[in-house]
Amino acid sequence: MASTEIARQAGEGARAVPLAGHVGFDSMPDQLVNKSVNHGFCFNILCVGETGLGKSTLMDTLFNTKFEGEPTQHNQPGVTLKSNTYELQESNVRLKLTVVNTVGFGDQINKEDSYKSIVEFIDAQFEAYLQEELKIKRTLHSYHDTRIHACLYFIAPTGHSLKSLDLVTMKKLDSKVNIIPIIAKSDAISKSELAKFKIKITSELVSNGVQIYQFPTDDESVAEINSTMNSHLPFAVVGSTEEVKIGNKMVKARQYPWGTVQVENENHCDFVKLREMLIRVNMEDLREQTHTRHYELYRRCKLEEMGFKDTDPDSKPFSLQETYEAKRNEFMGELQKKEEEMRQMFVQRVKEKEAELKEAEKELHEKFDRLKKLHQDEKKKLEEKKKTLDDELNMFKQKKTAAELLQNQAQQAGGSTTLKRDKERKNNPWLCTE
């Protein structure tokens, strides 16, 4: 309440002072709003429910658009979450709407782990925001917030009671996200059965301790409407994007042979109430609750898990910083160790390589030596051969000159011998020279 806020502020050493004229700071909300409008808003809705309950149709009807996508199959092996982001604009307000659908929820034979992927997804969004918040250089004011602000839980219109899968899932999700349960395809239930069904559901939720989102009743202007709406939970809705002519207007409706269910008729279903509550009255409150309650809880648990503690009353404040420092030093120590290791490895490798190279060098030297020796041997052999050849050549020359000399002598002698022989022949004609 406004007065308690002021009392608290006044109690902190401030006194109320009357103004003597118009100062102008009552334009502050406008300044804030203008800045936010320039920045744009984001809103993230998670739709949880079995396949075929009309989740996508309801989203289409709520936001009066045709979101893309076709109906999913029934044979998914596990639950996956598909998220789509759309940018909507109305007058000067830009909204980044993210619709996350659970694909395959409730289709398996064994549904024990169905809720796990949903919880993981929600936690992952919180984690991303927490990481951004813990960064040293951060840009929180331009961060695209993906945390889930509202979870619409679709209950099948059996008319009896909640399924155990529903109870288990809602129990796991109620501390992480604002849950708004709705009865889907409520044109399958008659009015009297619907009233009984709603009472049954509410009592089951209460007896199991499931905390669903309560519309805030602390602000006078919306307290009345919110409290009446609170009593109508869970909303029984019908979704439709087809238009049917009723009277002389086109309205969104489902046409049956026995009549037409009008989506926006409050007597037929609670769609209008849902739209009022979700968008037109409490969107901002949903965002705030997500940030101040669910996110803070997650953050507290996560930081305590990581080993941080707030101080006890008499120890030094700011021990988060110290543990942070300690962790940082630890981290640096580890880095240094790793560096050392790497250096060692490097040195080792270098040594090995060097050894290898030395080996190779030695081998090469040996080879060279061998080759050299071989060459020398060859050379020697060749020289010997050459020598012998030379010797022979010399001998041959000698023989040749000797032979020539002999021949010359022989010729001279032969010349004289021929003369002599001729003389003899002359003298001795009976010497037959044949």
Binding site: L19, P29, Q31, V33, F63, V93, D219, R280, V281, F318
Partner: protein
Amino acid sequence: NFLTKTILGKLDIEKCLTSVSTGGSTLLGYIGIDTIIEQMRKKTMKTGFDFNIMVVGHSGLGKSTLVNTLFKSQVSRRSAGWARDEKIPKTVEIKSVSHVIEEGGVKMKLTLVDTPGFGDQINNDNCWEPISKFINEQYEKFLKEEVNITRKKRIPDTRVHCCLYFISPTGHSLRQLDIEFMKRLSHSVNIIPIIAKADTMTTEERQEFKQRVRKELEMSGIEFYPQKEFDDDMEDKSDNDKIREAMPFAVVGSDKEYQVNGKRVLGRKTAWGVVEVENPNHCEFAQLRDFLIRSHLQDLKEVTHNIHYETYRAKRLNENGGLHPISSSDTQESNL
């Protein structure tokens, strides 16, 4: 009235609005997304605002009077019967006082931080240090709260959103102390320089003085608020350019009313006439007030939070072993 608005919204289903979208969706009717503006406005009005303003300047420049004139109330008790023989403190003291003021359903907790003793000694070396320390202490307090495991829903914001620096109307140029102070603090807080007691200068003298001061500020590289580098878009830039051209505002403060032309106006009565505080021909008080309160109040807070505080935080978290935990007793002493 909010309820009538919702009823009208229901009847007005034919209000067809197209959308700019990247997801392939077009709106075919009125949804009500724009009501988030109303929701947001109501929430912020409910929680109220904090605003912390610091005034720096040597004594006798009319700091207290100006703040009282700005917020049209006695937020600074010193000017209401300040004992003239009160001793000027030997060192710079930091005194902060908080008040709650309400207007049009909007409640604001205004904290005024005064710095008596600044620039009053013979030797004014390092007289900006206590002020710098105070500003950093407020950032430190906020940071401590923010890193707690269990945090408060609304972290009390004592960070200085705006520092009004009072320049003596000598008519010549800035003093060395002025330049030193503004150089050192313009990176940790939004500084708005003001020419005090502007009724001692004629219009021409005022213009010349302003030109000279602006040139000196530019030459010393002092980025006063609104800083050029934080302009978001062209619209902001053109608005802020106009303001930067007119700064520093030459103001006159007064909390006494006089009758001028049948109207009661705030002013200073002299033998040769009445200086009207809110008359744009006489001084630039009205411009300062509109700029400070009516258009840039939220922006001052945002720049402090998104830029100055983040710079401090990044520096602090990067410090290696520079842990000097500030004990809470110190800061409590300096408040009140």
